[in-house]
C-alpha cells in the first residue's frame, strides 16, 4: 500500500510540476506580448497599414510597403526553402540511415546554429556583389537558408514517427513507394509539418540581420525581385535605434503589426488544414 501511495504522490507532484512549467513559460512570454501591445497599440491606424513611411517629425506615415515587403520576402523564402527543407526531411526519414544521411542530418543541425548575420553576409557575397545590387531575391534566399535546416530536421522527426503499419498497409495494397510517401506518410505527418512550416515562417518574418545586407530597405513599394525591398524588421530596427520619440512609437507599433500578421497567418493555416487532416491518433 505504501508503494501505491508513494507512486500516487509522485504522480501528483509531477502533474503540479508540469503545470508550474506552463506558468513559468507563459509569464515572460506574456510580459513580452504585453510590452509590445501596450506600447504599440497607440499608433495603430488604417494609415499605418497602408501609407509609406514619413521622415521624423512628420505626422502620419505608415509601414505599408514594409508589410508588403515582408510578405514578398517570406514568400520568396518559402518558394526556395519549403521544397528543399521538406524534401531533405523526407529524404532523411526514408533513406537517411546511410553515411550520406548521417552527414546531411549532422550538417542540418550544425547549420541551424549559424548566426543569421553570417548567413546574411554569405548571401551578400554570393548574390549581392556579383549582381551589383541589393535585391529582394537575395533577401529571400538568405531567409530560405535560415529556414531549411529547421524544416529538414523537424520534418524528418515527424515523418519517422508515422507508424510503420500505415506505410505497410499502403504498400500491401499495391501503391507505389513514392505515392505511399506522399499521400499516406506525408499526409499523416502533415499537421506537424504545417507547424514546422509556420515556425520557420515566423522565424523568417522576424529576422533583421540577414536582410540588412541583402534586401537592404526601400522607402517605396516594390514588386521587382531585383530591387531592394522594405521589410518590417529592418524598419523596426531603423526606428528603434533612432533618437526620436515618435519613431520609437512607430517601432513598437510596427512590432505589433508583425505579430498580428504572423498570428493571422498561423490562424488561417490552422483553419485551412483542419478539415483536410487525418490525425495520427
Amino acid at each position: 500500500m505504501m508503494r501505491l501511495h508513494l507512486r500516487n504522490a509522485v504522480n501528483v507532484a509531477a502533474t503540479i510540476a508540469c503545470g508550474a512549467t506552463v506558468l513559468i513559460a507563459m509569464a515572460p512570454l506574456a510580459s513580452v506580448l504585453w510590452l509590445v501591445v501596450s506600447r504599440g497599440a497607440a499608433g495603430l491606424s488604417l494609415d499605418f497599414f497602408t501609407h509609406l513611411p514619413t521622415p521624423v517629425g512628420e505626422p502620419g506615415g505608415g509601414v505599408g510597403n514594409a508589410i508588403a515587403g515582408t510578405a514578398y520576402l517570406v514568400g520568396l523564402a518559402c518558394l526556395f526553402g519549403l521544397p528543399v527543407g521538406i524534401g531533405a526531411g523526407v529524404y532523411l526519414a526514408e533513406r537517411g540511415d546511410g553515411r550520406l544521411g548521417h552527414a546531411i542530418r549532422f550538417t542540418a543541425e550544425v547549420l541551424s546554429g549559424v548566426p543569421s548575420i553570417v548567413i546574411g553576409i554569405v548571401a551578400y557575397g554570393l548574390l549581392v556583389v556579383p549582381m551589383r545590387r541589393f535585391s529582394a531575391l537575395a533577401g529571400g534566399i538568405a531567409l530560405a537558408i535560415l529556414m531549411v535546416p529547421m524544416l529538414a530536421r523537424t520534418t524528418e522527426e515527424l515523418v519517422r514517427l508515422v507508424p510503420r503499419s500505415l506505410r505497410e498497409a499502403s504498400l500491401a495494397l499495391g501503391v507505389h513507394e513514392w505515392k505511399t510517401s506522399l499521400s499516406v506518410v506525408l499526409r499523416t505527418a502533415l499537421g506537424g509539418i504545417v507547424t514546422a512550416v509556420l515556425l520557420a515562417i515566423s522565424r523568417a518574418a522576424g529576422e533583421t540581420a540577414p536582410l540588412l545586407f541583402t534586401a537592404l530597405n526601400n522607402q517605396y513599394w516594390n514588386a521587382k525581385p531585383d530591387q531592394p525591398t522594405a521589410s518590417l524588421t529592418v524598419q523596426i530596427y531603423n526606428y528603434a535605434i533612432s533618437p526620436y520619440e515618435d519613431w520609437h512609437q512607430k517601432a513598437w507599433t510596427a512590432a505589433l503589426v508583425l505579430l498580428l500578421l504572423v498570428g493571422s497567418l498561423n490562424l488561417a493555416a490552422r483553419l485551412f488544414t483542419r478539415g483536410r487532416l487525418r490525425d495520427a491518433r
Partner: protein, 329 residues
C-alpha cells in the same frame, strides 16, 4: 511486392528505417524520380553548408598569416587598432549563455509540452500552441528591448542580490549586480528558444500511438508513470531533435544578446558579470570592419562558432546514444 528482411521489423521503436533495406534501385520510374528528387534536395543542404564554410575560409585566410588557430582560440586580446585578435572571451560567453539557456529552457519546454498533450484537456493545446508559435515571430530586436526595459532592472534588484545571498558561496553568483551580463543573456535566450523546443515537442508527443499509453495503464501505471515509461521513450529522439534545434538557435542568436550582455571583452566567473558572445561581436563589428585582417578575424570567429556548434551537437548525440543503448537493451 518486395520481401522485407526480418531485421527491418525489429528495429528500435520509432527509429526503424521506414524503407526496407532490400535492393535500393526502385522498381519503377515514379519511384526513381522521387528518389532522385529527394536526394537533390538533401544534397542542397550540403551545398549550402559547403558554400558558407568555403566563403568564411576564403575571407578568414589573411588571419592564418598573422596567427595560428591555437593562439586565436586561446587569445584574450581583441584589439582592432593593433590588429591583435583572440577569441576566448567570446567563446566563453557563447558557451556559458547557451548552457544557461538550455538548462533553463529544456525542463520548462518539455514540461509544458507534456502538460498540454498529456494532462490538460484536449481543447487547450491548440490555443496555447498558437500563442507559442506566434511568439516565435517576435523579432530579436523586440526581445532585446524587453530585456533592457523589463528583465535587466528586475535582475539588478531583486533577483541578483537574492541569488547572491542564497548561492553566494558559488563563484557563479558573486560580484556587483549591474543587471546586464551572462545571466540576463542566458535568460533571454531561454525565453527565445522556448517556443521552438516546446512546439516541436508538442507535435512529437501528439504522434505517440494511444496503444502505447493504454498498455501502460493496463499494467497499472499512474499517469506520470505512463508518461515516463511509455510516452517519453517513444518520443525521445524527437525531443532530442527539438532540443538541438533550440541549442542551435541559442548559439546563433545575435541582437537580443548584444543588447543585454554588456559587451565586455573580459572573462569573469560570475554570471552577474558583463560578457560577450561570438554572434554579438560579429554583428557589432562587421559593418564597420575594414581591412582584410580585421574582416578575416571576424570570419574566423564565425568559423569558431561553427566548430563549437559541431562539438556541442556531437557531444549531445553521443550522450543520447549512450543513454539510448542502455534503455532499449
Amino acid at each position: 511486392m518486395r520481401l522485407e528482411r526480418t531485421a527491418d521489423v525489429t528495429g528500435p521503436v520509432g527509429r526503424a528505417p521506414v524503407a526496407p533495406a532490400g535492393p535500393l534501385l526502385p522498381a519503377n520510374r515514379g519511384d526513381r524520380l522521387f528518389a532522385v528528387g529527394l536526394t537533390i534536395f538533401a544534397g542542397i543542404v550540403l551545398l549550402i553548408a559547403g558554400l558558407i564554410v568555403l566563403m568564411l575560409l576564403r575571407v578568414a585566410h589573411p588571419l592564418s598569416a598573422s596567427t595560428s588557430i591555437a593562439k586565436f582560440i586561446t587569445g584574450t586580446d581583441w584589439d582592432p587598432v593593433q590588429l591583435s585578435f583572440g577569441a576566448l572571451p567570446f567563446i566563453y560567453g557563447t558557451v556559458v549563455t547557451s548552457i544557461v539557456a538550455i538548462v533553463l529552457a529544456v525542463p520548462v519546454s518539455v514540461g509544458l509540452a507534456v502538460f498540454l498533450v498529456e494532462i490538460a484537456p484536449a481543447r487547450v493545446q491548440p490555443i496555447v500552441s498558437f500563442l507559442i508559435e506566434t511568439l516565435a515571430a517576435i523579432p530579436s530586436v523586440v526581445y532585446g528591448l524587453w530585456g533592457l526595459f523589463v528583465l535587466v532592472p528586475l535582475l539588478r534588484s531583486p533577483v541578483e542580490p537574492f541569488l547572491r545571498q542564497v548561492f553566494g558561496f558559488l563563484p557563479l553568483f558573486r560580484g556587483p549586480a549591474i543587471g546586464v551580463g551572462y545571466l540576463a543573456a542566458g535568460l533571454i535566450l531561454a525565453i527565445m528558444i522556448l517556443p521552438t523546443i516546446a512546439s516541436v515537442t508538442i507535435e512529437v508527443l501528439k504522434t505517440v500511438p494511444p496503444p502505447l499509453r493504454e498498455g501502460a495503464y493496463g499494467l497499472g501505471a499512474t499517469r506520470w508513470e505512463a508518461i515516463r515509461m511509455a510516452v517519453l521513450p517513444y518520443a525521445r529522439n524527437g525531443i532530442v531533435g527539438a532540443v538541438l534545434l533550440g541549442l542551435g538557435r541559442a548559439l546563433g542568436e545575435t541582437m537580443a544578446v548584444t543588447m543585454v550582455i554588456g559587451n565586455s571583452h573580459e572573462i569573469h566567473a560570475s554570471l552577474f558579470a558583463p560578457g560577450y558572445s561570438l554572434p554579438a561581436i560579429i554583428a557589432n563589428e562587421f559593418a564597420e570592419a575594414t581591412g582584410p585582417l580585421y574582416v578575416g578575424a571576424l570570419a574566423g570567429l564565425a568559423l569558431v562558432l561553427f566548430g563549437i556548434t559541431i562539438v556541442l551537437n556531437a557531444v549531445a548525440r553521443l550522450l543520447v546514444h549512450g543513454v539510448g543503448s542502455r534503455a532499449s537493451a
